[in-house]
């Protein structure tokens, strides 16, 4: 009897460590493609879609918080190709990826912020869409930050305030 109980306990311990359920990434032979995470069926509308669509349609007011968020998200999603300064001088183009245009190009300076949001949403040429990883609100934040980069790309160092020039010299060294 005691032995049976021990055996049951041992079995239970194994069961607990690998419970009969599909976790994320676990193979799931039940489905044709064998994955536990299934793509949504065609025509499915994601929960919260109207709210996201509304966020995407309306440009938020420009605030320091929006720019900060934009800088952080730009560093994650865009810097590998477009570079920290936005001149298209990222590390991935240096390894053979077609170089993206500099944001300082007159055509891109003239483009409205919604165009940048649209490029993030749908991609452009060889650049893929980032819609799966950059939330609608963050797309506007990045667009605002790209505007800031465009300003900085066109500003001669001599026009900067004294304090910023000192910082620039410090960073250059």
């Amino acid at each position: 009897m005691r032995r049976a109980t021990l055996l049951l306990l041992a079995l239970a311990a194994c069961e607990m460590a690998d419970q009969p359920r599909y976790d994320a990434y676990e193979p799931a032979p039940l489905f044709p493609n064998g994955a536990s995470v299934q793509p949504p069926p065609e025509g499915a509308v994601a929960r919260g879609y109207p709210a996201r669509a509304a966020t995407l349609a309306t440009r938020p007011p420009l605030t320091p918080a929006l720019l900060d968020r934009g800088r952080e998200r730009y560093a994650i999603a865009c810097v590998p190709c477009h570079g920290i300064a936005g001149d298209g001088d990222g590390v991935v183009p240096s390894r053979g990826f077609p170089p993206p245009p500099s944001f300082a190009e007159p055509r891109l300076r003239a483009a409205p912020a919604a165009t940048i949001v649209d490029v993030i949403t749908h991609g452009h040429g060889v650049m893929y869409s980032y819609a799966d990883r950059v939330a609608p609100a963050d797309r506007w934040a990045i667009a605002a930050y790209v505007r800031a980069l465009q300003t900085s790309l066109g500003t001669p160092a001599a026009d900067l305030p004294e304090a910023d020039r000192a910082k620039l010299a410090e960073a250059g060294r």
Binding site: I76, P80, G96, V126
Partner: protein, 220 residues
Amino acid sequence: MPQIFTPSADTWPRVGVGLGIVAVTAAILLGAGLVQSAYVTSVDWVVDQPVPFSHLHHAGELGIDCRYCHAGVESAPNAGLPATEVCMTCHSQIWTGAPMLAPVRESLAKGEPLRWNRVARLPDYAYFDHSIHVSRGVPCVECHGRVDEMPLMKRGEPFTMAFCLDCHRDPAPHLRPPDQVTRMDWSDWTAERAADYGRRAMEAHHIEPSRLDDCGVCHR
């Protein structure tokens, strides 16, 4: 009547009992060593992957942020492993013919996900959530080690209960500014700086270590 037992008859049982005690003691000591050993906790072991993906190359040398590929880490319990399309944002143009990347192209063509073999995993009875740790400023390196120096992914820390509890009972020295959680090298932070920042962060987030070792936090 002849003696049944020779004078040395109980020598062997005695030796037996002695050896038994030694064996049991050794087993306990070895066992204790074993449960903490790399063999059991899998620390530093690499496993075969369908594609020899290198964090050293991508996160270290190219400097790609962890969140480019593990996009759920700030908002969800799971960090998320990158979809094949994420690899293709770059590899549609570079290393396009490399045999090493053939499984990636095949996965894209067939619409079947790549089957990565998991390295950092907890048993099903333990609950973990990335988003709370990331929002409180526990950096990736605390739990996954120097990922940016790993040519092949391996477990950086033993995911034992003691590992979790050591921090939960005194999180302060481990906390960092949440906007820098993916930073790997913190060698410029002295112990005093970490302690000072940690104390303020504990107050700001109202973190209570006395609550964080309740069994129900991780076993729910």
